[in-house]
Symmetry: none
Subunit: 290 residues, 2 copies
């Protein structure tokens, strides 16, 4: 018989290591919509997780059940116990963490930030930024400052795969002027600047604008002075219970931008990515993984 002392969710997580790739995929689907996804038929579940039904059977057997129906019955029992006990409401948060634990407070703040920033975002601005970045005629420069450098690099990395003519500029280094030598009118400069706004970044923006560049700015809710020069401005709230600011919201916006630009440039991007894959294959940089 199976161990009754832990929930199936806990058992799934505990056994995660001993699961195979397809089984993990399945476990993930189960946990994602727990426990409802496990209450449908094995066929539905398998389809939802994009694995085969034998995989489902094998996994539940690894968990100690004789078969899928027994597993499902256990899920139902658990659900029954959970429904009749309203105390278990608080599994939104980290299990067993006190109400005011930093992880919970932090998460709450971040979700709040995302919420607020998203409701304030200007849709035409987003569309305009995508159009600019998807235009192969324009070259793209990505610039970040002290803190935002990492985020700028993140955007740069993706853009570089998506399209040609992308350059990363470090606004804090003394070399950024060199990088902008190639800047032509109509090119796009993406600038990240959050509070403790940097003088170098502002100078960079000013110079770029003088040369006829289009500027896309990622900043915080108080808006960097670069805003004056920018064609598109994205403001993300950055307040969290920490001595530091949170760039999570900006990262999310950047990722959304990447997703949309990729969508629009797919025809030309496809070849680039296949090319890249080919190079990866030769260098064996990555583990083969289905």
């Amino acid at each position: 018989m199976t161990d009754q002392s832990q929930t199936i969710a806990e058992r799934l997580q505990a056994a995660f290591d001993s699961l195979t790739r397809a089984e993990r995929q399945l476990a993930d689907t189960l946990l994602q919509n727990y426990p409802v996804s496990g209450l449908a038929s094995i066929t539905h579940l398998a389809k939802a997780a994009d694995v085969s039904t034998p995989t489902v059977v094998r996994m539940v057997q690894k968990l100690g059940f004789s078969g899928f129906p027994e597993f499902q019955a256990a899920l139902r029992h658990e659900l029954e116990a959970r429904i009749s006990d309203p105390i278990t409401k608080r599994d939104t948060w980290v299990q067993a963490a006190p109400e005011g634990h930093i992880l919970n407070r932090f998460t709450e703040a971040v979700i709040g930030n995302i919420h607020q920033s998203l409701t304030q975002i200007d849709l035409p601005t987003f569309e305009r930024a995508c159009t600019l970045l998807a235009d192969p005629e324009r070259r793209v420069f990505v610039a970040g400052g002290r803190i935002t450098h990492a985020l700028a690099e993140y955007l740069f990395l993706h853009m570089q795969v998506l399209r040609a003519g992308v350059t990363h500029v470090h606004a804090m280094a003394s070399t950024w002027a060199h990088d902008l030598l190639d800047l032509r009118a109509g090119d796009v400069v993406v600038i990240f600047d959050v509070r403790r706004y940097e003088n170098g970044t502002l100078k960079l923006a000013e110079l770029a604008r003088d040369r006829g560049a289009r500027i896309i700015l990622f900043t915080d809710q108080w808006r960097s002075p670069v805003h004056e020069f920018a064609d598109c401005t994205f403001c993300g709230r950055i307040a969290v219970p920490s001595a530091w600011d949170s760039l999570v919201t900006l990262m999310m916006m950047a990722e959304a931008l990447i997703a949309e630009v990729q969508e629009r440039t797919w025809d030309s991007t496809r070849a680039r990515m296949e090319d890249l894959e080919g190079m990866f294959d030769r260098t064996r940089l990555f583990r083969k993984f289905t």
Copy 2:
């Protein structure tokens, strides 16, 4: 089709009068242990209510369903809506953007990711990681791969301000072995590795472990193979409607970690930050502004 505006429980009660004796008995059983009793097979349910299976079929058809499976699917949907967390459903949507706009879909996915990852995080792991990083006796190495390099740099940047003895290692570069020359037993290696797990990263982890280092791993829900060597593993969901993965969840966890470590090391960190401020003042890097 069936009416969507009321729950099945309400419909059962509304139709109670028009039901026959055996059907009422069944409806009563259903309501008594709602909705779990309805999620078992029709045979179980019939037995539990002490009626026959045809009675069950007839009743659900009276309620407007084509058959028992459809009734059961409706129950599952209802349960799903009831279970899923209100936070996820909060209307974080961009104003005036269509339902399926990339920004909305993306945001929804990210909030779901955060939610999901947080419920699975292991609190002792978090505490352990903080303790390791807050220990001034241990040196800290931060390593990222192709995609995660930027995130690693982000963590490195903060850690460097918080404490002494922090090094940034690029697991993809051929130089990482040099960086680890200084590694002593007890030192901490923070590794970022998400799917398309890199061979170099795995090697790095193995080597570090052999040398007696403690390893903190940030990875995705499928867990990098580095996990085998890690003392603390943080899994963040990375699935978004994009050709790329989202590192937002991992960034959030890293930020939370930074916040807590800063809290713990504040006594020694304070002096460092004041020192840094002094240097900033002299170089006039930042605008005097708030």
